[in-house]
């Protein structure tokens, strides 16, 4: 993967650009987050095509999620997801205790209200990856205290 710092700077600038080009920054918060998520979706689709070139077919949903937690996360952020929980009915919670894109922001509560912007792209990334592996899903993220964050994946049954 390309140098970490390069992607981090590009990602931060991407978020600032989207927010600046939105007409009224605050009221269009939702639209901006959607735009970022859509970008992440397209990137995720492409990435997953490249990463799974050589891997055999996945046995089931859980296998796919484990691939995302281990291999995809390692390739993107050089570490694995710290905790994966599921209710075996299509809901998965991925917990990352020190998310790379947030670790430089703060170590607790400062800047908490800005955190969702930095997670939108990654949510889209996961959703894009899953969609190309055959699983339609909805991915949301929440931050209780930086730099730990949780991604919630809801698989939608066709």
């Amino acid at each position: 993967m390309a140098d970490e710092a390069l992607f981090q700077f590009l990602h931060s600038e991407l978020i600032q650009y989207i927010y600046k080009s939105g007409a009224n920054g605050e009221t269009e918060n939702g639209k901006n987050i959607t735009k970022l998520e859509a970008m992440g979706f397209r990137v995720g689709q492409g990435l997953i095509e490249r990463f799974t070139k050589e891997t055999p077919r996945f046995k089931d949903e859980l296998d796919v999620m484990k691939f995302i937690c281990k291999d995809l996360w390692t390739c993107l952020f050089k570490k694995q997801i710290d905790n994966l929980r599921t209710n075996h009915q299509g809901i998965y919670v991925l917990q990352d205790n020190s998310f790379r894109l947030l670790s430089q922001l703060s170590a607790g509560k400062q800047y908490l209200e800005h955190a969702p912007k930095y997670l939108a792209f990654t949510c889209g990334l996961v959703r894009g990856g899953l969609s190309d592996l055959g699983l339609k899903s909805v991915v949301t993220a929440e931050v209780a205290g930086m730099p730990a964050c949780k991604f919630q994946v809801m698989i939608l049954k066709a």
Binding site: F9, I15, L105, S106, Q110
Partner: protein, 145 residues
């Protein structure tokens, strides 16, 4: 062996950060004036040193010492200035200041999109890490004279 205080200035002379650990005597003027005084003095010393040096200069001004304290100076290629006052027993702290720049400033301020470069540093994470870093220095001892 102790560190008294630390200043960080940007290339326009604005003070981005100041913290002190062990300062017994204040300057007697307001903080803003103190920053201006410090910056102005350094600007003058650096230009004096470079003009009056009898040999070719390599690094330029690095530190000065008085009978009670020593002031270390480090400037990055981008114009950021780090100034640290310590007691006399500390050898040249250039490496330390360089480390503060490369590990703390770059990581927590430059890479933080919510901190605009040129504004006073507000990241709590940066302050906390700086504090820990200073306290872990081999020559930092808060109880020293």
């Amino acid at each position: 062996m102790t560190v008294h205080n630390l200043y960080i200035f940007d290339r326009n002379g604005a003070c981005l950060h100041y913290s002190e650990w062990n300062r017994k005597k204040q300057a007697g003027i307001s903080k803003q004036e103190e920053f201006k005084l410090m910056y102005g003095m350094l600007f003058s010393i650096r230009s004096f040193v470079s003009k009056m040096s009898p040999l070719d200069m390599r690094e330029g001004f690095q530190c000065f010492q008085t009978s009670r304290y020593k002031l270390h100076f480090y400037e990055t290629p981008t114009g950021l200035k780090f100034i640290m006052n310590t007691d006399l027993s500390v050898p040249n702290a250039r490496e330390t200041l360089h480390q503060i720049y490369s590990t703390l400033y770059v990581d927590y301020i430059v890479k933080n999109p919510l901190c605009s470069l040129g504004d006073p540093l507000q990241s709590d994470l940066f302050s906390a890490r700086l504090d820990t870093f200073m306290k872990n220095l081999p020559y930092f001892n808060p109880r020293a004279a």
